[in-house]
Amino acid sequence: MRSRRTTIAAAVCLIVSMTASVLLLRNIDRLRPTRSNDDVLYLESPKLIRKASLGFDGLMACIYWTRTVQYFGARHFARAQSYNELAPLLEITTSLDPHLVPAYELGASFLAPAPPEGAGEPKRAVDLMQYGIAHNPDNWKLYYDLGFVYYTELKDYKHASEAFDRGSLAPNAHPAMKVLAARMAENGGDVTTARILWSATYQSSKENIIRQNAVAHLRAIQVDEDVTNLQNIVDRFVNQNGRPPTSLWELAAAEHWTDVPADPDGVPYELSLDGQVLVANPDDFPFITKGTPPGYKPGPPKFHTNQN
């Protein structure tokens, strides 16, 4: 009887003290100034970390890759303007496991774009991809990603073409690689090239976030192309009539269209009073460069799951 009473008393003490300590700790956390460990790397030497892993460098690479993803994700979500530890984290990850292909593929897409979409370090992205290619020379996707960085961020069509060309020789390379190599050399900056590039990205990746990004870019390319064509027609209308059309319905009637033109979501484009073609919901089309109202600031990308 006494033993049972002791057991109950000890159990109650355990539960009460545990609950109280958790609640107290939460309170203490609120009292302490907010600290961020985001920009702290206690160990920066890939060699030292490799040695400290006692041969289990594959697991350490996965841990560092996860940390990289978390670091990038948190800062990207906060629309940060700096990603100071991103490149060192990627360097450590790929030094620990030079065959960790996702770290190159996604790492380059984290590093290359300008803030807040990425770290704004396209040259380091190129270095990362070249390190990856040196260790995985038969992986065509790495050449593709290298060409992609040259194309999208550095606008260096010559090197982009070379990267696609080298990648086209790798085993099982995507058929678009040869086409991209040729087009880059001749028409680096045109819309068709961009469309081929993003379509190849969509087709070659199984990762949802990459496919969604490709869809968002393909939709933006479509909108940009629509707005450019529509604007040309509006300008022609202005030249012929000395005034802009009052609405797109008037333009449709003049051009003998059965309906007004609509964006990839089926929402009709709009016309401003001064004859500028506008997208009705620009936030639904991240990455568009045309059809936005003056002073428009894009929000964070909202990805669509299906390719339209």
Partner: protein, 258 residues
């Protein structure tokens, strides 16, 4: 002779089970299932890699810890409890006692590894939804891990045959750490000259080369392993185990148990 060794091995296994050694499987199951569920949510494109890397690393580390902590007590505990005198007063030779203890501990670790391997494959099936042909190389990695355990068991027994449990644990863990850097040791040896060079090369070849038995990363990347590597690693582990066990027998045969 075989029956006596088998009997000691069986008892060692039963004792380990009675000591709740296999409870580590619960910790392992929690670790691997937690990783399988969580990693997909906090990382990108490495779910399969994490399950294989984490699973095999955990199998290896859990096993090494068990091998060392059980191994160092195999002889000293028998002396402390005075059960060794009862055993040796029967027609059991000292070397049979050492070999039986080794077989019992190795058996415990093989059983432990088998259940952990089931856990690794279960988690892999959960994250990848199906097995692919290269996943069969995981069996080779597990086999190499078992070879690693054989070496560590024999070393633990060697140290416990002449030293206290605490010092044996220190020696065994140190040798495990040094053995993981065996390739680097050879590299350092190459940088030295004269007598120091031969001393360094000798030391580098004397410590167990655990890095040669670690193919976890290669297997995670579905790289193939040559049959020759499997054969030579097997021979190396067996030779090293026999060497360490012979040392343990030599010391234990001459040890004054009075």
């Amino acid at each position: 002779m075989r029956a006596r060794i088998a009997y000691i091995a069986h008892n060692t296994f039963r004792e380990a089970v009675r000591d709740r050694v296999l409870y580590n499987l619960i910790a392992f199951a929690l670790l691997i299932s937690g990783a399988a569920i969580l990693v997909g949510q906090i990382s990108i494109e490495v779910e399969r890699l994490v399950v294989i890397n984490l699973g095999l690393t955990a199998v290896s580390l859990f096993g090494v810890v068990i091998a060392i902590f059980i191994g160092i007590g195999l002889v000293s505990k028998e002396i402390e409890k005075r059960t060794l005198y009862t055993v040796l007063s029967r027609p059991v030779r000292r070397w049979e006692f050492i070999v039986g203890k080794f077989c019992g501990l190795a058996g415990t670790l093989v059983v432990n590894t088998f259940f952990m391997a089931v856990g690794v494959f279960g988690a892999l099936l959960y994250v990848a939804h199906k097995f692919s042909r290269p996943d069969a190389w995981i069996f080779v990695a597990l086999y190499f891990i078992v070879l690693e355990f054989l070496i560590i068991c024999s070393l633990s027994l060697l140290f416990s045959s002449f030293s206290s449990p605490l010092l044996s644990a220190v020696f065994a863990f140190s040798l495990f750490a040094i053995g993981s850097f065996a390739d680097d040791l050879r590299g350092f040896a190459g940088l030295t000259h004269g007598a120091a060079r031969w001393l360094a090369i000798g030391s580098a070849y004397l410590v167990p080369n655990f890095s040669a038995l670690n193919v976890v990363s290669a297997v995670a990347h579905q790289q193939t392993l040559s049959g020759q590597l499997i054969l030579e690693n097997t021979l190396y582990a067996l030779l090293y185990t026999v060497m360490a066990l012979s040392g343990a027998v030599l010391i234990f045969e001459r040890r004054n148990l009075k």
